[in-house]
């Protein structure tokens, strides 16, 4: 495995290649926060393209803008300036309901602290996105069972999240993120709360999903974890510091 460092350019977006279908295209995207009477540019102009089937790891020190980047990519936020195209959708101009719909149908989230809903069982947690989609109960229950099987928790459907280990909870969260068959998964430090062995198994699971064609963007500060990706994006002060591509 070798890595080629590509110097970022403000003009041409990084990661461009002619033979790839872009899932994500950021063009000079900026994000500003007002903190008190101070403006903070969490993103100070980022351009990039992520193609179908790629697995990006975003790295950087705290305050580098990697979380803002993930929120933006996850359609939880809109850019202050610049353009974000997710497949055919111009995220910057969509209203709240349309963004919710994109998150529901096209995106899957995996969080550091799993974020399962405590009062719901494993099955109900996995069913949640399907229920927001309006899928009939029987169908969504079946699909939840399949997904639980897929992450190796087919026998835990009736359990509460608190009855599961951290690794198991993260597997449920991954199953939930897959509920509506999104093409694009976003993971925020997915192994951050797990011991290394468990973390490895979660990374193996994400690797499988990548192998099955999912596009994945993951924020992490662990180089070992980032190494699972096809691309490593290093950020600093709201800008792209460099992009490394893993050549296999």
């Amino acid at each position: 495995m070798t890595r080629a460092a590509i110097e970022p350019s403000l003009q041409a977006p990084v990661g461009t290649a002619t033979d790839r279908t872009p899932v994500v295209r950021l063009d000079e995207v900026k994000k500003r926060y007002i903190m008190g009477d101070q403006e903070v540019w969490a993103l100070a102009g980022v351009s990039l393209e992520i193609a179908r089937g790629e697995f990006w790891a975003i790295m950087g020190p705290s305050g580098s803008g990697k979380s803002t980047m993930l929120n933006l990519l996850g359609c939880l936020d809109r850019p202050t300036a610049g353009q974000y195209l997710l497949e055919d959708a111009d995220v910057g101009v969509l209203d709240d309901d349309a963004l919710s719909d994109i998150r529901l149908r096209r995106l899957g989230f995996v969080f550091q602290n799993f974020n399962l809903i405590a009062q719901l069982t494993v099955r109900e947690n996995i069913e949640l996105p399907m229920s927001y989609l309006g899928m009939p109960a029987r169908e969504s229950a079946e699909r939840a069972a399949e997904l639980a099987d897929r992450v190796g928790l087919g026998d835990r459907l009736g359990h509460r999240p608190t009855e599961l280990s951290g690794g198991q909870q993260q597997r449920v969260a991954i199953a939930r993120s897959l509920a509506n068959e999104p093409a694009f998964l976003l993971a925020d430090e997915p192994t951050g709360n797990l011991d290394s062995a468990t973390g490895d198994s979660i990374m193996a699971l994400l690797g499988d999903l990548h192998a099955q064609g999912k596009t994945i963007v993951m924020v992490t500060h662990e180089p070992d974890v980032a190494a699972h990706g096809t691309h490593q994006l290093h950020m600093r002060d709201g800008r792209i510091e460099r992009l490394e591509e893993t050549i296999t």
Binding site: N71, G74, L76, D77, D96, D97, S100, D101, R103, L104, R105, L107, G108, F109, F111, N115, L116, I117, A118, Q119, L120, E124, L128, P129, S131, Y132, L133, G134, M135, P136, A137, R176, S177, N180
Partner: protein
Amino acid sequence: MSAAPRLFRNVRLGVKTLLLHKLRSSLTMLGVVFGVGAVISMLAVGEGASREALEQIRKLGSQNIIITSQKSLAEASAGTQRTRMSWYGLAYEDEQRILDAVESVDAVVPAKIVRAEARLGERALELRVVGTSPQWFDLVDRDMIAGRTLNENDFVNRASVAVLTEHGARRLLATRGTIGQPVRIGNAVYEVVGIVRSETGQGQGMQTPDRDVDAYIPLQVARDRFGDVYVERRAGSRSRELVELHQLIVRVRSLEEVESAAAAIERLLEIHHPKRDWRMSVPLALLRQAEATQRTFSIVLGSIAGISLLVGGIGIMNIMLASVTERTREIGVRRAIGARKKQIIGQFLIETVVLSTVGGLIGVAIGLAIPLAITAFADMPTSVAPWSVALSLGISMAVGIVFGLYPAVRAANLDPIVALRHE
């Protein structure tokens, strides 16, 4: 997926969430429980009391006007003189006068009340006998227990027949078998032709016309046999009175004309009886008055109900706001995985509506139980109006929506990013 099963699923999840905090949820419901319970039981007590009063007034006949002879004030003060005979009250001509002068009147029934010794078989006692016309039984609507009422033939033929009231029959120990048998009243013998049900109660300070009446006989017979002079012995003194008729019951042809007819009769009687030796009572006016009182009562109760449900609602809102804060992260997660604002609002609204509706249902159960207990232990009439149950259930659901809306909207408007970071 159609709306009904989805709603059912959401309600089930809402119930499940509420059951996670059983104590908190039940305490939250208490406000609505007591509000609804109090409203239904208070209304039941009020309704029970007023229904009894209204029922009494209706028995007087709402199309009727009742004119009763009474001593004028001057007569009453002069009545203490032994030698004097007081002469007062309605005259025989008044019946025709009213019938002729007031167009909207379709019947006038005279009543002459006499007290006489009576004997039926072995039983002898003093009866209160009313001499009247057959129409009495049309105007004062009572069920027959046995036999028949007085009829036109009895009236024209001055027949010696008597109809006993339930009250009189009981006193005389008369039964169905008594029909056709002779009863001696005063110095004459009458054939008992019927027994009629009677009312002995009192409504809004007004006597029903058949209160304490034991028997009816044709008016002419009463007039011929008993005359118009009454001697009353009381504590050694003796007073003599001359009264032609004790009562006139006037029936007006429609409810709308009762008030104008009453006014017309009043003017007429003032001309012929300037001493005001009569008084008039209009059941309809009393009915209206009783209804107005009841309305006021209902408004007062309604306000109390409103306040208690408002307090209950504020309690619910308070808890739901706390719940939104507590579940900020959950809301963030739901938003992140794709829930629309509307769906978050729906989720929280369902929880408050479930809370307030379950509270309302428990309140209804309490509201139905309390009147039963009041009737059983305090012996007061109560009547649960179905509309009061429907109304308070409806209001409690509305309370859930109104007071749940603000916390729900607040939950939905949380920034998902901030909500996700919330610890």
